[in-house]
Amino acid sequence: MDNHPLKAASEGRGSDRRRREDRRKTYTDPKDLPFPDRRKGDRRQMDRRIVSDEEKTEILSRVVPPDGTAPKKPSENAG
């Protein structure tokens, strides 16, 4: 039986088994995750804007340029 092909095949999967076992061991309860466990939700969120046009304009109006000129007025950033 020592040379049985099924046994050899089984031994051959040893490294893969170790890898799978390792993966299982690192399983983390979703409650302990440092981020939302909503993978399908993540996919939908990818299509959502992070910053609106008005917000962008307002941010740029607050940047003080290095050349010492006054920050741009919101209207100068439009478009």
Partner: protein
Amino acid sequence: MDSMTPSPPEADLRKFIFAIASGKGGTGKSTFAINLAVALASLGHDVALVDADLGGADLSTLLGITAPRYTLKDYMQGEVMYLSEILEETPSPGLRLICGGTDIVSISNPHYHQKVKLIKAISQLDASHIVVDLGPDITFNNLDFFNAAPVGFLVTQNMDAMILGFYRFLKAAFVRKLKQEFREDDFIMNIINDFQNRGWSHSRRDLIGTIRAASREAQELLDRILGTFQPKLVFNMVENSSAKKTADQMFSFILENFGFRLQTVGFIPRDRDVERAYARNEPFVLSAPRSAAARAFFDILIACNLNKTPDGTRLSSFAEFQARLKMEAGHWQLLKV
């Protein structure tokens, strides 16, 4: 597990873990990460620098290591079992590096379980201080690494595109943090999703106000989040006082709209010594310890309460810091091939 297999170390929550992000490429984020790691090592700490810029890793090159034995690819593909196995020695005795893998595309798009595994493994590294250099782009991976670290640095420059980049990253990280903390509360989750779905066309202030008004529990949780979400902002390549004025403007804007305090911890001046060090793949705090940039770096350590040695001795003067850097630079010259 057989007796020959080492047990994974437990996570040590007392460790200092820093995530370095920017939201835009070219700000000097990786240079900041390297110099922070080297500065901490020069104080005597045991530092691990992790190149988590998945897909755009270059810290090994910037440290003069051209052929690392292992990279993150080997860990994420299961070629090695523990992350500590791929720590590379660097010319600095107290600093070890985990090189990023750039030679395959899949490294920049890790599977969900790989991300979870990597975040856990980083927190379990055997080092007192862990510096994690993230990618410049706004991906869920970068946001999650940033939020998972107890301390997050954002490196920017006083330029429109870079300020917008850092703001986008900061807002995305904050909203993701809210979603993580309120994940069990469907009512609040719907409120946040509604703001996102409408493209933030309403006032940002309404989001915080609406959550606060939802319930006493929601208000308490929100206040806890606002009290702990305190990213540290670093302005790089600063030429004059305009960056300070922009920092003040951003502080006010974020406090007014999101209710948390953005802490600007330093202004690193534009410096020829830094450019020369970068060209030679050397940390500028070592090759130019007397430079204005090195001085600014010491001020950042003080602002972050990191100017301490492992035995608790506090370095109060720049001269003391310089002496440490010169000693460290000696090791660097000795060991550099």
